[in-house]
């Protein structure tokens, strides 16, 4: 049964590769070079050699266990060790991989010579210290997003990565999601014309709180709610979406402004439960970012707006302006009718309220598209998380780094942290020079 599932998942991964048509040297690989480290040719070579990546998980909470389930379906991965300093979570993970060694201290795990790579799924404030220690110990690293809790930590991780010969991944799964890859290909080929705006939002109606067995564990278990360990909605949710915006624009925003408040969940938390942020690119295009967790009507959407159409990446759908444009003769008659019968004949068409019309949806990817409603705090199925994890396991074997993944994570994490700063200080922030890296274009 398990074996069948493994084969099924492996087939769907191959389908993903086939669907995208990214064969070695293809145009897709030039524009999305991070996919180069996991081409089908490289994967079959690994299979032929029969080698396996020996990986360990640090942080066996909800996301860690989600990764363990995905690892079960990756044939070139072997989970050799698990680490968590919270006994119940370590036990739960051990039930998924009973043969893996168990650690409560990650430093001892890093000393193990039979571990090629580590997967870090701990609270945000531990990402940087653990990643730095793991790279220093000579391990390949796959760390959860966001990159780090502070900008200086981000810089330290980026520098360490540049010095290291080890592979480093941050779980920016949209970079490996077929809908986003296809969508971005279409956006860059001019399908929706010139990008004129970006609209992203993430709405939930849930407090983020977890049950705590005893009060002294509150800050450990509910780490997302406290500033020492969390950047709130920005690092937890916006991080992925800002990466998509930069990917579409091929550059970084210059200025950031926003407002954040605790509007509804006044339960002692320190992070905002309601944020509105605007990022401005040098050409005037803006990202309008909005997130709140006390109303889920609008769900999660990553929209790229062009002068000829709109791509909704989250649904793998695009809409063309022309689909909703009336023919000349119909416009003429409508205008004539409005001029003669309209309430105020002197007002032009802009005066009347323009409510959203029903556009014709076109799909980006043929066949069934896996759509994430954005309501799960753990992760969705087939959202690219399994593919990026598989790519990491490949890198553990080949030693090949995935291009741009660290840089993209660095850029989007900095944008999250700068937005928090802008909201805290209630001012417009210009991207600081000291955090610019050669990868960034403004």
């Amino acid at each position: 049964m398990e074996e069948n599932k493994k084969i099924e998942r492996e087939v769907s991964r191959r389908e993903f590769i086939k669907e995208l048509g990214y064969l070695a040297g293809g145009a897709l690989l030039l524009s999305m070079p991070w996919l180069k480290s996991q081409t089908p040719e490289k994967l079959s070579e690994i299979k032929r050699q029969g080698t396996c990546a020996r990986v360990a998980l640090i942080g066996c909470g909800s996301r860690g266990q989600y990764h363990l389930h995905n690892l079960k379906a990756i044939p070139h991965a072997e989970v050799v060790a698990l680490c968590d300093d919270y006994e119940p979570n370590l036990k739960a993970a051990a039930e998924i991989f009973p043969s893996a060694r168990q650690y409560s201290d990650y430093s001892s795990l890093l000393e193990a010579s039979d571990v090629d790579g580590v997967i870090i799924a701990t609270p945000l404030n531990l990402h940087a210290p653990m990643t730095l220690d793991a790279l220093a110990a000579g391990k390949h690293v796959f760390c959860e997003k966001a990159m780090a809790r502070t900008m200086s930590e981000c810089r330290a991780v980026y520098e360490a990565y540049k010095r290291s010969d080890k592979a480093l991944y941050f779980c920016m799964q949209r970079m490996y999601d077929p809908k986003y890859i296809k969508g971005m290909e279409q956006v860059h080929s001019g399908l929706i014309g010139e990008i004129v705006g970006l609209r992203c939002h993430w709405f939930r109606n849930a407090d983020w709180r977890r049950k705590v067995p005893s009060p002294e564990l509150e800050r450990r278990i509910n780490w997302r709610l406290y500033r020492e360990s969390s950047g709130g909605l920005m690092t937890e949710l916006a991080c992925h979406q800002l990466e998509v915006c930069n990917w579409a624009m091929g550059r970084m925003p210059e200025t950031i402004m926003g407002m954040g408040d605790i509007v509804f969940w006044k339960d002692g938390r320190e992070v905002y439960d309601n944020v509105n942020v605007i990022y401005r690119y040098s050409n005037g295009v803006k990202i309008n970012y909005e997130s709140l967790i006390s109303n889920k009507y609008n769900g999660m959407e990553d929209q790229i707006l062009g002068h000829k159409g709109t791509v909704d990446m989250t649904k793998g759908i695009y809409y063309l302006e022309e689909d909703n444009q009336l023919s000349g003769i119909r416009q003429l008659l409508r205008e004539g009718k409005e001029k003669t019968l309209g309430a105020i004949p002197t007002a032009g068409p802009s005066w009347r309220p323009e409510t959203r019309k029903d556009y014709v949806p076109h799909t980006l990817v043929a066949g069934e598209v896996s759509v994430n409603s954005g309501q799960s705090t753990v992760g969705a199925d087939n959202d690219g998380s399994d593919v990026i994890l598989s790519a990491f396991c490949q890198s553990c074997i080949t030693g090949e780094k995935a291009e741009n993944v660290v840089e993209e994570a660095y850029c989007s994490t900095l944008l999250c942290l700068l937005a928090n700063q802008a909201m805290d200080e209630k001012r417009i922030i210009t991207f600081p020079d000291e955090y610019k890296i050669p990868y960034m274009k403004f």
Binding site: I329, Q331, L332
Partner: protein
């Protein structure tokens, strides 16, 4: 034969005239379509993709012209009737 009964005879000339009038309506509608394409900078393919709409428009123009013509006729008949009564 009843003296008061009016027999309406549609002559070939009538048919030709009506066809010509409808042709004129169609030309007006096509011209409007071309003007709208230029004015709103839409596709020239609308000359045929919107032909059904244009045909309907021509029909509406034709019917409107018929209604106006009928109204004028009725009005004219009423005026004539009134004059006759006044003379008596």
């Amino acid at each position: 034969m009843d003296k008061n009964k009016v027999i309406a005879v549609i002559t070939l000339a009538d048919v030709i005239r009506e066809v010509a009038v409808f042709g004129a309506c169609l030309i007006i509608a096509i011209a409007l379509n071309a003007y709208a394409i230029v004015h709103y900078q839409t596709e020239w393919s609308e000359l045929y993709t919107e032909f059904g709409f244009v045909l309907t428009l021509a029909l509406i123009l034709y019917v409107a012209r018929c209604v106006v013509k009928a109204l004028i006729l009725v009005l004219w008949k009423c005026v004539k009737l009134l004059r006759r009564k006044m003379k008596r």
